[in-house]
């Protein structure tokens, strides 16, 4: 019974499809209002809300089993979601299992993209927000803080975060294996479609020095360039100015090749010691495959990038067993530490059943 005092209730991508997750996702206003409601639940001693695009989870410490049920009710009412339906799909873990879940979430083991590190920041933010409002106490503080340490340990001692798993990030990683750093790397984006834009943004987020956009429709190129804080250039200058760039992201819908071998040879003659990296994300291909034979020129197409992303994903999956072993050990140890405190809360409630819920400080 004492294990029930610590719980996590929620919905994650594992059992809930995107269409349903959209309905369950909390807006900032709803999240705030819900916190007020939770604070009024008798017997709920501590709680924290984790709300991301792939999960909404409520971590709590309560002196009565009824508190978890009231959280479910309040949440379903706020989201206007059928409670019976929610109970079919919900995540509902207690005691040690709840601790293990938090550790796995923090380490990125429970993420849709296994090993992603963004979730770690999201869990930290959720905890910091709850702590700032005085909603957490000694038990959740310990569980979250130890959970962060465990997540860091997993990331440091396994290869779970190694290798990028999205095509855009694989392209950036490849550029890093060529240039080492992107701080003086100039990017040319050919095509103003969504795929190229994503890759260009990935380069910008990793500190690329400059981005230039060229599209067959100049106005579209200028529009995208403005949105990305880049510059635009006429599409017909792409070959004559090729030597100015280090990375060329090709993502046009042109039916023919837009980068040829002679143009690449000419560009390399003007920058012989500087490598040139083509990322051809177009279908049909934009870059003549013959450019790959030129010294210091590297060409990767959509299939190459997808294959590398798949390999990285498989490598991360292979690390999961090792990670879970570490997390299980850490969860066991952590649960041994907090279990007496949780049991004390439940026992005290049996002695004096009027639990005081935490009051948000702001």
């Amino acid at each position: 019974m004492s294990a029930d005092g610590l719980f996590v209730i929620g919905a994650t991508h594992h059992r809930v499809p995107l269409a349903v997750r959209e309905k369950l996702s909390l807006t900032p206003a709803n999240a705030s209002a819900l916190q007020q409601e939770f604070a009024a639940i008798p017997g709920l001693k501590e709680f924290a809300v984790l709300n991301t695009c792939n999960r909404v989870e409520f971590y709590g410490v309560a002196s009565s089993a009824d508190a978890a049920a009231q959280i479910t009710s309040a949440f379903c009412a706020r989201q206007q979601f059928d409670r019976a339906e929610f109970e079919k799909i919900r995540l509902n873990l207690r005691g040690r299992d709840a601790v293990q879940h938090l550790l796995e979430v923090s380490a990125g083991l429970d993420s849709q993209m296994v090993g992603e590190t963004e979730i770690f920041g999201q869990v930290k933010d959720a905890y910091a927000a709850a702590q700032a409002k005085g909603l957490t106490g000694p038990i959740l503080n310990r569980v979250f803080q130890k959970g962060f340490q465990a997540a860091k340990h997993v990331r440091t001692n396994t290869a779970i975060t190694e290798g990028q798993v999205s095509v855009a990030n694989v392209a950036v990683e490849l550029a890093l294996t060529i240039y080492g750093t992107l701080k003086s790397t100039r990017i040319l984006l050919l095509g103003a479609g969504e795929i190229g834009e994503k890759t260009a943004k990935a380069f910008q987020s990793r500190g690329a020095a400059a981005l230039t956009v060229a599209s067959r429709r100049l106005e579209r190129a200028m529009e995208l360039a403005t949105a990305l804080g880049a510059s635009a250039m006429p599409f017909d200058q792409r070959e004559s100015r090729l030597a100015e760039f280090d990375v060329v992201v090709c993502a046009t819908s042109a039916p023919d090749l837009v980068v040829t071998v002679p143009a690449t040879r000419s560009a390399m003659a003007r920058r012989p010691a500087q490598p040139l990296f083509f990322i051809d994300q177009a279908l049909p291909r934009d870059v003549d495959p013959g450019v790959a034979k030129i010294e210091n020129v590297f060409l990767y197409n959509l299939d190459d990038l997808a294959r590398i992303a798949d390999e990285n994903r498989a490598a991360r999956e292979a690390e999961l067993t090792k990670c879970r072993t570490i997390v299980t050990e850490k969860a066991d140890a952590l649960w041994r530490q907090v279990a007496p405190q949780v049991a004390a809360i439940v026992t005290n409630n049996h002695a004096a059943p009027t639990g005081a819920a935490p009051q948000p400080s702001a």
Binding site: A159, G163, T177, I178
Partner: protein, 312 residues
């Protein structure tokens, strides 16, 4: 305990550490993990200190830099390469440079320790009382150490280039530095090696001009040829005529050539008439040298401490 250590004991201990560095790196790679950059760096650094002690004892015994036989030349070249690795290795600590360095130095030191003939004889006071000749010899060998490290970065460049061209970037290829970093460090190492060898030749030429009979022509021509080839390679690289793979292969080939040139250089020293040797004051034709059997050399079958000085 250490008081009984001979110079060769220290050098064996250093070689053992380089081998451990190489083995732990190999085991990590075979397990699909990254070799611990810090562990490799520490092993090499400690090995470097032990090798320094060993070479120091040897230097004291022969009254100058320990360059009096093939064994010492190989040891000194390995030590020079590590000197440079310890400087640039900080930046590349998490790459495979440490692993490759431990591999090269383990090979150079083990081979030299395993061939007793290379250390069967040596000459004492090989530089006479002339510190400039000692500087000339030391710089020449130090430049070979730089070229050794250059050959390692060239191998790493070729591996990185292969991984990128063949689109195999996972596994242990992912532990290699970027191709541009490897290219830049290669050019810098080549420039440093060429400059130091040029200084060495400049210092040596002053004495050669004074008395041409003091220098063996085989040694003179092979050393100048090595310097000219490296200088030409640097020139072609800076002018953009020798790039990427071709540059790396050339650096690798030249190092093999440089190592091979040590054979004729060393042989030329032995071929000098003992009467001439007395007047010679160069590493290749050492002054006041007498071939003596080293007290701690394997041919003696003992581990007695090297003498502080050996008279001829």
């Amino acid at each position: 305990m250490f008081a009984d250590f001979t110079d060769r004991n220290w050098l064996w201990a250093a070689a053992a550490l380089y081998v451990i560095g190489f083995v732990q790196g190999t085991v990590s790679l075979l397990r699909g993990g990254r070799p611990s950059g810090t562990a490799t760096y520490v092993l090499i650094a400690v090995g470097y200190v032990l090798q320094f002690i060993g070479l120091g004892i040897r230097g004291k015994a022969i009254g100058g830099s320990p360059l009096s036989n093939t064994f010492e030349v190989f040891q000194f070249t390995a030590w020079s390469a590590i000197t440079l690795y310890l400087v640039i290795g900080v930046r590349f600590r998490n790459s495979l440079l440490g692993y490759f360095t431990s591999c090269l130095t383990a090979a150079l030191t083990l081979v030299s320790l395993s061939i007793p003939e290379w250390d069967a004889t040596h000459r004492t006071h090989i530089f006479g009382d002339n510190p400039w000749i000692e500087l000339h010899a030391t710089f020449a060998l130090f430049s070979y150490g730089i070229f050794a490290l250059l050959s390692l970065t060239s191998i790493m460049f070729l591996l990185r280039n292969y991984s990128l061209k063949s689109k195999r970037i996972g596994g242990w290829f992912s532990f290699l530095p970027s191709i541009l970093d490897l290219d830049h460090i290669g050019v810098r190492l080549l420039a440093a090696g060429v400059i130091i060898l040029a200084i060495s030749l400049g210092v040596g030429s002053v004495y050669w001009v004074r008395d041409t009979s003091t220098v063996n022509l085989t040694k003179l021509f092979s050393t100048i040829a090595v310097w000219l080839l490296y200088t030409a390679t640097l020139g072609l690289r800076l002018r953009g005529r020798l790039l990427a793979r071709w540059f790396a292969w050339t650096c690798l080939g030249l190092f093999v050539l440089a190592l091979l040139s040590l054979g004729p250089v060393d042989a030329s020293r032995h071929s000098i008439d003992p009467k001439d040797r007395l007047h010679s004051a160069d590493v290749a034709a050492p002054a006041a040298v007498g071939a003596v059997r080293h007290p701690s050399s394997p041919s003696h079958g003992s581990s007695t401490r090297a003498p502080k000085s050996v008279s001829t």
